[in-house]
């Protein structure tokens, strides 16, 4: 974060606006969850997209990730990549059971 006084003064307003936006989005999320989309999975997806958007606002503005140093971007990039690996491969391996179809159905 720069130490420029004027910039900081300006960003104070920004923080408040973002805070209000976050509050509004939280209300939106609650409302959204009462709307029945074609499948519940879709509800989850939309809800998560909104949550991710909110989270990125927090990360980018409040945590100043919109202008941070390269080292930190690198560290976070790897972390997020591994976290995604954690999500995706867990699910994929749970959803990919070993099937013995040819084996059991031989005589049917």
């Amino acid at each position: 974060m720069s130490d420029n006084i004027e910039e900081i003064q300006k960003s104070v307003r920004k923080y408040i606006i973002i805070g209000i936006a976050l509050l509004a989005l939280s209300g939106f999320t609650v409302w959204l969850s009462t709307v029945e989309l074609p499948t519940h999975g879709l509800n989850i997806l939309v809800g998560m997209i909104v949550a991710t958007f909110k989270a990125s606002l927090v990360a980018l503005i409040f945590m100043h990730l919109n202008h941070e140093r390269p080292v930190i971007y690198k560290v976070l990039a790897f972390t997020v990549a591994f976290a995604i690996v954690l999500f995706v491969l867990f699910i994929l391996s749970a959803q990919d059971p070993l099937v013995f179809e040819g084996f059991y159905n031989r005589n049917e």
Binding site: V71, V75, F78, T79, F82, V85, L86, L89, F90, L92, S93, A94, D96, P97, L98, V99
Partner: protein
């Protein structure tokens, strides 16, 4: 260590600057100095290593001589008075006749694995060597967060105490292997009056502390390497040692939290009765358990191995780190392929997060996922081979000094080779289905960790001992340490491959005695054992079980081999040969630019890295090494710059 250890000029000089000598407690117990913390970690780690080794000796006795009383137990018990005291303390660890039973074997096994991995190798390789050497090598005065560093050690210490304490609680320590697979681990002893009467709960609590300790350590290491490198120490002038520590720290940082999750969830299963890892309808002893079910044992395995595969690289990378210093220094040749090593280790670190489920081929994983994990597993062996090859080629054309650390280093290379190569077949699901959970797997990873990492750790101890104490360890005793260790290690671990391929399961407490009379139990190795035994007048049966005896004898040779080391280690502190200068091995990295032992604040002048870390036998340069800190004109002046460096802050 203590200032008395040397009468070195610099050290004396330095003390003149230090106005407030910290008291004993601040200096040795609540120390925030990275060197003291390194030494604390080192000594604790070595003691745990010894403890774990002792547990293993008991196990090997039970395997080789199932049901036979432990040696000398009868004599100890017969001592009037003392015998009964012994009995009341250790009686619960034996059958009435002084032999071990399966339950106790399981406890020993689980604790052996846990202690060796989490309390022996990692603290030694990463925390001890890393803490002592890394800040010196990058030329800084301490870690970025000295207080966190201290906290890290004391968390580790607490976790060690809790872990050892679990031997004394109601039902004794865990019995479910170092992997703690649920549902077994979630439910064993669940009926005991209090969850705290069961060692398992203590295990989990201890692990939570241990993990926190390594988290603090790894944050510290990375921040130090990123922000505290001295002038001229660019990333590509940094010794490979620090690169390896950097990668290890990242592995610990990012892989340990899922284990923490695994431990917390298991703790919740045990303490709050949740069903994270317990499927619906689970029964025990013919009765439905009083649980809701709905969880999955696979979840535990995923979380555990997501840590534990990176963990095996945490175990092996310190070895490469240490050897990257020991080998060029004693071959008097630059490290071959520095860049490939650096990129290799980075690739290794990255890939190690993507391969974990090769430990889970047998869980009913589908073909798509197992194909993926087979591919990544084979891929990851490429950077491993790159690392090994670079070290090997570094020897080529060198004028090698075969001192003790170099002996250990050169033995490491083939030993790690065997370990790595035997891992390759395991990478393929169709082979692993047969070999999983057999002694073959045990052989594989012990070759990597025992004659691999532990040898490298020994090399490191011999290498840096003079810097820490100002005295050499005895080379003769060192050789008495090396040869029995090498022979013992191979006697213990090589037969495991043969037994494993014959289908010996890894957790038989009686070493497969049940199958004694099975046919087809002989091969060349058993016949060889039989004949050699016969030659010396022992009647060793010609079957696979005789290999148990070979391995156990190997273990006892190994135990004897450690005696010279222990003597050497303690006696050389006061009695070893003194070093003549601060750089006794003629090494090039910055830790050798400090006074011996390095004082608080480390350097007497502001160190500057003028060149790469491995400038040995530089053509046209007088000496056969060209340290990083020397300018073309020679050494920097120590006194005046030292004052300047102090004044600057």
């Amino acid at each position: 260590m203590s200032a008395a250890a040397t009468s070195h000029e610099h050290a004396q000089d330095h003390h003149a600057h230090d106005h407030h000598e910290p008291g004993f407690l601040r200096k040795y117990v609540w120390s925030t100095d990275h060197k003291t913390i390194g030494i604390q970690y080192g000594i604790t780690g070595l003691l745990f290593l010894l403890f774990g080794f002792f547990l293993m000796l008991l196990m090997r006795w039970s395997i080789a001589y199932p049901g036979v009383p432990l040696p000398a137990i009868a004599e100890i018990r017969a001592i009037p008075g003392l015998g009964d005291a012994f009995e009341s303390m250790f009686g619960r660890w034996m059958n009435a006749d002084g032999s071990l039973n399966g339950e106790i074997y399981n406890m020993l096994g689980a604790m052996h694995g846990t202690i060796m991995v989490f309390f022996g190798i990692v603290p030694l390789g990463f925390a001890a060597f890393g803490n002592f050497v890394m800040p010196l090598q990058i030329g800084t005065i301490d870690m970025a967060f000295p207080k966190l560093n201290m906290l890290s050690y004391w968390f580790f210490f607490i976790s060690g105490v809790l872990m050892v304490y679990s031997f004394f609680v109601g039902t004794g320590p865990v019995q479910t292997g170092w992997t703690m697979y649920s549902p077994l681990a979630s439910t064993t002893g669940i009926g005991v009056t209090s969850v705290w009467a069961h060692g398992h709960t203590w295990w989990l609590t201890a692990m939570v502390f241990n993990i926190s300790a390594s988290l603090l350590g790894s944050v510290n290491f990375i921040a130090t390497i990123i922000n505290l490198r001295t002038k001229g120490m660019t990333w590509m002038k940094m010794p490979f040692f620090c690169w390896a520590m950097f990668v290890i720290a990242f592995l610990l940082l990012l892989a340990f939290p899922p284990l923490e999750v695994a431990a917390i969830l298991q703790l919740s299963d045990r303490v709050f009765g949740s069903s994270f890892y317990l499927p619906t309808g689970l029964m025990e002893g013919g009765k439905h358990l009083d649980i809701s079910g709905g969880g999955s044992p696979l979840l535990y395995q995923h979380l555990f191995w997501f840590l534990a595969h990176p963990e095996v690289y945490v175990l092996i990378l310190p070895a490469f780190a240490i050897l990257s210093d020991v080998i060029p220094c004693n071959a008097r040749r630059p490290l071959w392929g520095y860049k490939s090593l650096v990129y290799g280790v980075l690739t290794l670190g990255f890939l190690s997060f993507l391969v974990w489920a090769h430990h889970m081929y047998l869980t009913g994983m589908g073909t798509m996922m197992s194909t993926y994990f087979q591919i990544t597993t084979v891929l990851i062996s490429v950077p491993s081979v790159v690392l090994l090859t670079c070290l090997m080629v570094s020897l080529w054309g060198g004028s090698i000094r075969f001192n003790t650390q170099m002996l250990f280093a050169s033995a490491f290379l083939p030993m790690f080779g065997i370990g790595g190569l035997t891992g390759l077949p395991l990478a393929f699901a169709f082979i692993d289905l047969a070999l999983h959970d057999t002694y073959y797997v045990i052989g594989h990873f012990h070759y990597v960790v025992a004659p691999g990492t532990i040898f490298a750790l020994f090399a490191g101890v011999y290498h840096w001992y003079p810097k820490i104490t100002g005295r050499f360890m005895s080379d003769r005793l060192g050789k008495w340490h090396f040869w029995p260790s090498l022979i013992g290690m191979n006697l213990v671990f090589a037969p495991m491959f043969i037994q494993g391929m014959a289908g010996f399961h890894r957790r038989w407490y009686d070493g497969g005695k049940y199958f004694e009379n099975t046919s087809g139990f002989q091969n060349w190795s058993t016949t060889l054992t039989h004949n050699i035994g016969g030659f010396f007048g022992f009647n060793i049966p010609d079957n696979m079980l005789s290999l148990n005896i070979v391995m156990s004898v190997g273990a006892f040779i190994l135990a004897l081999g450690q005696v010279p080391f222990i003597i050497n280690f303690w006696f050389s502190i006061k009695g070893g040969k003194k070093i003549e200068n601060d750089n006794p091995w003629g090494a090039t990295t910055l830790e050798w630019a400090t006074p011996t032992p390095p004082p608080h604040g480390n350097f007497l002048f502001e160190p500057v890295a003028h060149r790469g870390p491995y400038e040995y036998s530089v053509p046209g340069h007088g000496a056969d090494f060209f340290p990083q800190w020397e300018t073309e004109q020679g050494k920097p002046e120590t006194k005046p710059t030292a004052d300047k460096a102090l004044a600057k802050h």
